[in-house]
């Protein structure tokens, strides 16, 4: 069984779960959690796509010498991307939580439908 494919499938499932959470949960903290799940799914897909069967992580250490790196490690680019994406996801989640804190300060409510001031 291709481990990469599994990762991609799981990733998509996680994305769907995340979207489901964002769309159905009224609690904004849960929405943020949904968003995190969505993000995690993304990361899983990225890692899954870059995975090559039987190879190791693209870290040049004692286990992998620079000489045979090309044949023994997986594609390093998605790995780099996923690291960046995780950082960005973290930032976004943090900011979202900051919003949650400030919103709660004002209204003492975590229900998203309490924050419909601007519309139409």
């Amino acid at each position: 069984m291709d481990f990469g494919l599994v990762a991609v499938v799981v990733g998509f499932l996680l994305i769907l779960i995340g979207i489901w959470g964002i769309l159905t949960q009224k609690n904004i903290v849960k929405i943020v959690i949904g968003f995190s799940i969505f993000d995690t799914g993304l990361h899983a897909i990225m890692v899954g796509i870059g995975y090559l069967k039987g190879r190791t992580a693209p870290i040049l250490d004692s286990a992998v010498s620079p000489a045979d790196a090309l044949t023994s490690i997986v594609d390093p680019v998605p790995q780099a991307l996923v690291l960046t994406a995780i950082v960005i996801g973290l930032g976004v989640t943090a900011l979202m939580l900051a919003y949650v804190v400030r919103l709660y300060d004002y209204r003492k409510s975590l229900d998203i439908s309490s924050y419909e001031d601007l519309k139409w």
Binding site: I22, I31, L42, T84, L95, A98, Y99, R102, Y115, W120
Partner: protein, 1063 residues
């Protein structure tokens, strides 16, 4: 400048990041997390200065690069990070486009930074660094050539935006920011999946390499393309999945949404254009479709808005939609693509930033409170500039861009697109002009003051002036731009008038303007001939005569003269124009000038709006017509002669142009703007807009009909239709005039009817018909100017326009009475005055052509004219003088002088009609050789009858004089009695008000024929407006303010988009 001095563009990114890092070392100010702590500590100015310094350097770098690209032949430069070439590392590109876009971003960032001085002091250094990161991110978006790096910068930009919003202390803004985060989070997720799949199928992250990989041909690659395109489109806030964006526009502080609107829309747009190269034609088409839906949908929702920021949000989204359309159609637009994008983008950029800044200066979003802006006329001027620029009126860049866009699209056969774009622009005009109307007319809150520190007005000033400069640049670049020199000098004079406007008294400006117009006429018009000369006499000569009345005004009359002159320049430009570009610019200038003149009236706000809507609608039809003609003539020329060579669409072109021109002549169905606009205008504006301006439409018809002759559409001859339309207009216009209580409304409706005669007569397409039309037109010009001036004088003195409130004014204002008397005799076409010329000619033309029933309608219209003529003179001047007008004075001499000049013209024309009609007939012969009128001295001889104006005049005067002398002799000892010395059935009248028969004067007539003047047309247009507003109100309920709903809309958009593209 030498290459070596060019700073590496990477510094833009570096300085942005570095400075925001350094800013962290400053004392942060207290960031108020809790709503109870309302007063935050203000930070010092130094960090702000640092940020401004950084932005200045960033701006300078972009400017420097742009300069060397434009003038030093600099080649695009790749910047490789980490020393590797792509695809192994991230690369940035600095090319001409990048330089241009980064300059845009940095400039607006810098100016907004300035503008936000106060706000930043409140928000603290965190805000400063986040703001700087935002600008940096936008720069990165523009320059990067790496698709993942693009994602990063997009995230930076959107996180920074949300970060700025989170720092406001307003729960509404916070909730909007949260919604924004949810939506952008989802969108960037999709983008990320797209990127990773693109990498998987394309093997690279570099955009250029991906383009070579032809992803759309690879199985599965389409999915990557789909995700990238859809998420980038979503970043641009397409309708209807853009509620989160609109909310963010409304929520964020004004300086910041100026950046979001003008800079980030520009940047994101540029990204899309950059990324679309990895796709194929299908995706371009899809982009165009999304664009047009967004353009129409957003503008539609804009019309129901009452908050300036939200409205501008909708407008921004709409403008981006328009940009998407252009991008999507870039293939079809070919070489003009860049110019069009440049024009639209620049206008949007300058205008939107300027308008958002103005929102901050006015400090209220409620549109109806905007009258306060009038405290600073300069800002009103710039607001007008921005709105006109946004809507694509000359001389702003978007005008030239839209012009080129329409012409090019038409040439490519994409007529539906032209139609949709113009329709969307019209909807946009509705709310923007309504807003502008509020600013100009609504009462300001006297209590409030308008604080305008330099750092806030400077950006507005700069962008306002830039709009003109870029407009000039665009005008030079547009094909045919070299022929626009004729506008420079006159418009420079307008500019001069603007500058001196606030300092000089009215008589100086009046004299200057008259002198300038005389010079304009002398210098530019002297060489004209035939029709153009004739209209030049009406436009310029008539303009000068009516302007004499301006001396009656006192004070400064700020904001009047520049627009008067602009209107006349437009009118003159029509005559001078040799190509459709000049013609259309003139048309728009005239519309603009007259709009401002009309809206000056006390109650004319709604009427000016409807005037503008009909005028713009008409102008867009003309534009569409020109576009079709450009396409249909087969020669790629913009000369007016293309109308003669049209081979395709001729019926359609004729229809469009005719309807466009007839919005100005106010043919029935398109007339509802006229009565209000003319009636509510100031007393010396009414004659200008009625007697003179309406002839512009007629001149348009002259040009059209001479060039295209008779055309038919769907088997129906168009002139034949016009004939009926003109006849019906004449009858209904006159009937409506007969039932007005308002003197100026009466005259206005009379203009509708009179112009109906003109259209009717022109539709004959025969010698006599055109002679009739020109006689009518000349005559209408003279008597309507005369009447409007005379009635204007009366209104000036009595302060009322309602006729039945007046009465018996002949005793107090005999000179005005004589004017009106001569005017109505000329109007009703009674011999021996000039009006009869038109009547007699029209009968000849009718019999010759065989349009008996139309002719019959026009005759009846002429009879109905007696009714309102009499009503006008009787109810105002005859009957019982009222108590309160006992001491009223004659109209000011400055208003009487033009009246008597015009009376002189009428008398001259009546005595010697051959002097005018003969030369007209002579040049008409070359167009319509058959059926010319013969002249036997002063006697006109047609194949049907004869008419000797001189003889009739002399005989009539002879009889009249004899009888008058006889009567004077017989009643030489008559006692002069007063108003109550009347036989009142043995009683004596008690009050003049009860003894003056004036209200509902033609009551029995109304009873009998009132059914003909039901306001059906008004109801029709009102209905259209209502429907638009209802749709707008219905559709905007999509945006219910719930973040989940917005997220759902985003998802739904993705799903629907997928069904239509890859499904």
């Amino acid at each position: 400048m030498v290459d070596s001095i060019l700073l590496n563009p990477i510094y833009i990114i570096g300085i942005g990041l570095g400075t925001s890092f350094i800013l962290g070392f400053f004392k942060s100010g207290r960031f108020q997390a809790h709503p109870s702590a309302m007063h935050s500590e203000r930070i010092k100015t130094a960090p702000w200065v640092l940020m401004i310094g950084a932005l200045t350097v960033m701006t300078f770098i972009s400017a420097e690069w742009l300069w060397s690209f434009l003038f030093n032949g600099q080649l695009p430069q790749q910047i490789y990070t980490a020393g590797f070439e792509p695809p192994f590392s991230i690369n940035l590109l600095m090319g001409r486009n990048e330089a241009f876009f980064t300059l845009m971003v940095n400039l607006v960032g810098l100016l907004s930074g300035l503008y936000l001085l106060d706000k930043f002091k409140e928000m603290g250094t965190h805000a400063l660094s986040v703001y700087l990161v935002l600008i940096m991110g936008l720069n990165g978006i523009i320059m990067t050539r790496d698709i993942f790096n693009l994602f990063v910068f997009l995230e930076i930009a959107s996180i920074a935006t949300a970060g700025l919003i989170v720092m406001t202390s307003d729960v509404k803004a916070l909730s909007a920011g949260f919604k924004y985060m949810i939506a952008t989070g989802l969108i960037s997720g999709f983008l990320l999946i797209g990127i990773i799949f693109a990498y998987y199928f394309g093997g690279s992250l570099n955009i250029d390499s991906l383009a070579e990989a032809n992803l759309t041909t690879v199985q599965g690659g389409v999915f990557a393309v789909f995700l990238i395109v859809v998420s980038l489109l979503l970043e641009l806030k397409p309708f209807p999945a853009n509620g989160w964006g609109i909310d963010a526009y409304e929520a964020s502080p004004v300086g910041i949404n100026a950046v979001i609107s003008s800079a980030s829309a520009g940047a994101t747009y540029y990204v899309l254009s950059k990324v679309l190269i990895i796709t194929d034609a299908k995706w371009y088409a899809v982009t165009a479709v999304v664009g047009i839906i967004t353009f129409l949908g957003s503008n539609l929702m804009g019309i129901k808005q009452t908050n300036a920021k939200r409205m501008l949000g909708y407008s921004s989204v709409g403008q981006v939609g328009l940009l998407l359309v252009i991008l999507g159609l870039s293939e079809q637009l070919g070489n003009s693509f860049k110019f069009i994008i440049f024009g639209i983008m620049m206008s949007h950029y300058l205008a939107k930033a300027g308008l958002f800044w103005l929102v901050g200066i006015v400090k209220t979003g409620i549109l109806k409170d905007w009258g306060i802006l009038r405290k600073k006329p300069v800002l009103v001027f710039f607001m007008g500039t921005f709105i006109f620029a946004l809507l694509g009126l000359p001389p702003f860049p978007s005008f030239f861009a839209k012009w080129t866009l329409v012409l090019t699209l038409s040439a490519a056969g994409l007529n539906l697109w032209v139609g949709l774009i113009l329709f969307g622009s019209l909807i946009e005009a509705v709310y923007l002009f309504r807003w502008f109307g509020y600013v100009l007319k609504l009462d300001a809150d006297k209590e409030r003051s308008l604080s305008t520190p330099f750092y806030r007005t400077f950006p507005v000033w700069l962008f306002g002036l830039l709009s003109y400069y870029i407009g000039y640049v665009a005008s030079v670049m547009v094909p045919g731009g070299e022929t626009l020199g004729m506008f420079y000098l006159p418009l420079a004079f307008v500019g001069f008038l603007f500058i001196i406007d606030r300092y000089l008294p009215v008589w100086v400006k009046n004299t200057l303007s008259m002198a300038a117009m005389a010079l304009y006429g002398w210098y530019y018009m002297a060489g004209l001939s035939e029709f153009r000369m004739l209209f030049a006499i009406i436009f310029i000569g008539g303009g000068i005569v009516t302007m004499i009345a301006g001396y009656a005004k006192s004070g400064k009359r700020v904001g009047f003269y520049p627009f008067v002159v602009m209107m006349y320049i437009g009118l003159g430009g029509l005559l001078l124009s040799e190509n459709i570009l000049q013609f259309f610019i003139s048309w728009e200038l005239m519309t603009l000038g007259s709009y401002v003149l009309i809206i000056r009236g006390k109650k004319s706000m709604p009427h000016a709006l409807s005037y503008m809507m009909f005028s713009l609608g008409g102008a867009f039809l003309i534009l569409a017509g020109f576009g079709l003609a450009f396409a249909g003539s087969g020669v790629s020329s913009i000369s007016l002669d293309i109308l003669k060579n049209v081979t395709r669409y001729s019926g359609l072109i004729y229809t469009f142009l005719a309807i466009g021109f007839m919005t100005k002549t106010a043919v029935i169905g398109l007339h509802i703007w006229l009565p209000g606009a003319h009636a509510e205008a100031e007393s010396d504006v009414s004659p200008m807009v009625s007697a003179i301006l309406l002839k512009a439409g007629m001149f348009g018809l002259v040009v059209l009909m001479l060039a295209m002759g008779s055309q038919s559409l769907g088997g129906v001859s168009l002139p034949y239709l016009l004939g009926w339309l003109g006849a019906i207009t004449a009858l209904l216009g006159n009937l409506m005039a007969a039932f007005q209580e308002d003197a100026k409304r009466l005259l206005a409706y009379s203009s509708v009817g009179q112009l109906g005669y003109v259209v009717f007569a022109m539709a004959f397409m025969s010698h006599l018909g055109w002679l009739t039309a020109l006689a009518f037109a000349l005559n209408h010009f003279v008597f309507k100017a005369l009447l409007f001036l005379a009635i204007g004088g009366v209104v000036m003195r009595t302060k009322t326009k309602t006729m039945y409130e007046m009465g018996g004014l002949i005793k107090r204002m005999p000179l005005s009475f004589i004017s009106v008397l001569i005017g109505i005799i000329a109007l009703s076409g009674l011999p021996p005055l000039t009006g009869f010329a038109g009547k007699w000619l029209s009968y000849n033309a009718v019999i010759e052509k065989g349009w008996y029933f139309q002719g019959f309608l026009v005759s009846i219209a002429g009879l109905v004219a007696f009714l309102y003529c009499f009503r006008l003179i009787h109810v105002i001047f005859l009957g019982q003088p009222k108590d309160k007008f006992k001491n009223i004075k004659e109209a000011p001499i400055a208003m009487l002088i033009p009246q008597y000049i015009l009376i002189g013209v009428i008398m001259l024309f009546s005595l010697m009609p051959n002097m005018v009609l003969k030369p007209i007939g002579e040049f008409l012969v070359q167009y319509f050789p058959d059926g010319a009128l013969q002249w036997d001295g002063g006697t006109a001889v047609s194949s049907l009858g004869r008419w000797s104006g001189v003889a009739i005049m002399n005989i009539t005067i002879g009889i009249f004089g004899t009888i008058l002398i006889w009567l004077l002799f017989m009643s030489r000892k008559a006692v002069k009695v007063k108003q109550f010395n009347i036989f009142y059935s043995g009683e004596a009248p008690s009050r003049p008000e009860l003894t003056h028969y004036g209200y509902n004067f033609f009551a029995p007539y109304k009873k009998a024929v009132g059914f003909l003047v039901q306001p059906l047309v008004t109801r029709f247009w009102d209905g259209i407006a209502d429907i638009l507003h209802s749709i707008s109100d219905f559709v905007r309920r999509l945006y219910n303010g719930n973040g989940q709903m917005y997220a759902f809309q985003v998802i739904l958009f993705v799903v629907v988009f997928s069904i239509f593209t890859i499904g």
